[in-house]
């Protein structure tokens, strides 16, 4: 149903759209990292995707580039859905923040940052959300051991507790 959106994306952005598929009826486009903000702005303003439903990361460890950020968009007015993905290399996991486009991206990006260590350029307040600030490592990365323990935090002094 949303194939038209993918066609339009390919037509408009050409080489910036690396790959598309619609496995199980989920129309998907893999977009170049440099043009993600432009693509999203286009999708919101011209294709009518008012809602950012979900944003999450995936770690494809031995593959390169290693990380992937996955956006699920929904258009209320036209009933379309589309999934946009962007791949990030391990050395430099940085991608543009979507907060200027959808303010709902704020917490999702904070969550993605603390679990995968992906940095969102232009995010107003990139700090931990579900974990605590002293947490060491990025727990959803595949090289973070499943049973790893965290160091015990020193107690606060009684007067500052």
């Amino acid at each position: 149903m949303s194939q038209a959106v993918l066609d339009k994306l390919k037509q408009r952005f050409g080489e910036a759209v690396l790959e598309t598929h619609n496995q199980f009826g989920n129309e998907t486009a893999l977009v170049k990292r440099e043009s993600i903000l432009e693509v999203m702005q286009f999708l919101k303003d011209e294709a009518g995707f008012e809602m950012l439903i979900d944003l999450g990361g995936v770690d494809h460890l031995p593959e390169k580039p290693r990380f992937e950020v996955v956006y699920h968009l929904k258009s209320l007015s036209r009933g379309y859905r589309v999934r946009i993905k962007v791949r990030l290399p391990e050395e430099d996991p940085v991608v543009d923040s979507m907060v200027p486009v959808w303010k709902g991206a704020n917490w999702f990006e904070r969550e993605c940052f603390e679990f995968y260590g992906i940095k969102f350029k232009g995010h107003p307040d990139l700090r931990t959300l579900l974990l605590y600030p002293e947490f060491e490592g990025y727990p959803l990365r595949k090289d973070y051991p499943h049973k790893k323990r965290q160091p015990r935090l020193p107690l606060l002094k009684p007067e500052t507790r």
Partner: protein, 401 residues
């Protein structure tokens, strides 16, 4: 909204920072709110969730496909069946067997989803009414919830964490007499809802606490990605059951209740009306429940009968393979979503072809709603946190995963 009067400067008053939670009677579920107050007016609000973080996604990556079902129970533990169904639908799509699941299993999934939706709405409204002082309404709601919990207990054998679905069907068939029990429960619940309507819906105290309190505009709700009753209370008609029908919802005759103002009262009322619609769906679905098996007829997914396990080598092998290795799901990615009582509940699952998910992300519907709370609440009184937070229906297990 109360503005700072000029006298405040002369009095050298300071803003007061109060930490509400994580263990606080109003913060059901564990969440901390750092509230900055000027008198009783909220100046700033920072929400700090995560006290119930169990590493759901990390655990999923280390467990096999069917084992994850037990984890999904603990996401939204007030309507576990819907989580079970949402997850299993995603896996079945990936495995390519979503068309082969027996009809009876699908109908049962839909019926119990609606029963679960009722229990969730009843719990949410019970907590909301109790927190604004309506304790008798709480007792009525919990009484009605008990009727439905008994139905679920009867079918699944558990009261809260059901782990009832399996890839390819459901674990237990519904026993004889379930249809009648559900119809009886509906009858009881209708009476309770009538009583509560009489008690609460025009109650002056309740109206003062909820009408035009916690307002959110249509545009804001959409920009935050909010779904479910919270979005519908602003008048946006988006219900997954109508917009992207799954199971047999397209054959059911029901309406989507919409609010007008997007305030706490509308959220309360939308939920009240939605319960009636759920009961309508149940009444239509129960007579159509077909007879037949509840598990797919495929040895790759279905555990063999005990008789075969003990008497034939094929049965033993089949049993051992399924118990020790579980099912295999081909590589691919899928986002499958259902209408949970809080909104759109989605599972984004990536498989690399194996007996464990490579990635299993949940889109929790109360996550974007909690995100919008500071904007909703700024400028209101501290007491307005209570009904607003109650109307969000934040579930710690789902929010923090």
């Amino acid at each position: 909204m109360i503005k700072l009067s000029d006298t405040t400067k002369d009095l050298h008053t300071r803003y007061l920072t109060v930490m509400m939670g994580p263990s606080h009677p109003a913060m059901h579920g564990t969440v901390k709110m750092d509230v900055v107050l000027d008198g009783e007016t909220l100046i700033d609000l920072d929400i700090d969730p995560g006290y119930l973080h169990r590493g759901f996604e990390k655990e999923c990556e280390d467990h096999r496909w069917n084992q994850v079902v037990a984890y999904t129970d603990r996401l939204n533990y007030v309507s576990s069946i819907i989580n079970n169904v949402a997850y299993i639908m995603a896996v079945e799509k990936l495995a390519g067997i979503d068309k082969k699941v027996p009809e009876r299993a699908l109908w049962l999934r839909m019926i119990l989803s609606e029963v679960s939706r009722l229990t969730d709405h009843l719990t949410c409204l019970a907590a909301m009414c109790m927190e604004v002082g309506g304790f008798s309404a709480f007792l009525y709601f919990v009484k009605a919830r008990e009727y439905f919990y008994e139905v679920l207990e009867n079918v699944t054998g558990a009261r809260v964490t059901y782990s009832w679905t399996r890839v390819g069907g459901v674990r237990w068939d519904a026993p004889e007499g379930t249809q009648n029990q559900i119809l009886q429960a509906i009858k009881g619940a209708r009476q309770v809802l009538k009583d509560v309507h009489g008690l609460i819906s025009k109650n002056r105290v309740f109206l003062e606490r909820t009408v035009k309190v916690g307002l959110i505009s249509k545009e804001d709700a959409i920009a935050y990605g909010i779904t479910g009753p919270f979005l519908r209370s602003t008048g946006v008609n988006y219900d997954v059951r109508k917009a992207h029908p799954y199971l047999f919802y397209n054959e059911m005759n029901f309406e989507v209740p919409l609010g007008v103002n997007g305030d706490n009262y509308d959220r309360y009322y939308v939920r009240m009306l939605e319960m009636e619609q759920s009961m309508r769906i149940l009444e239509q679905a129960l007579p159509r429940l077909p007879k037949g098996p509840v598990m797919i007829d495929d040895p790759k997914f279905k555990l063999p009968e005990k008789e075969n396990v003990y008497n034939s080598i094929e049965g033993v092998i089949n049993h051992v393979k399924l118990i020790f290795e579980d099912i295999y799901v081909p590589a691919g990615e899928v986002y499958s979503f259902v209408e949970s009582p809080n909104g759109e509940l989605g599972f984004y699952i990536v498989s690399k072809g194996g007996n464990k998910p490579w990635k299993c992300r949940v889109h929790p519907p109360c996550f974007p709603i909690m995100q919008s709370l500071p904007e909703i609440l700024k400028g209101l009184m501290i007491a307005d946190i209570i009904p607003t937070f109650g109307g969000v229906n934040m579930i710690g297990g789902e929010m923090d995963r």
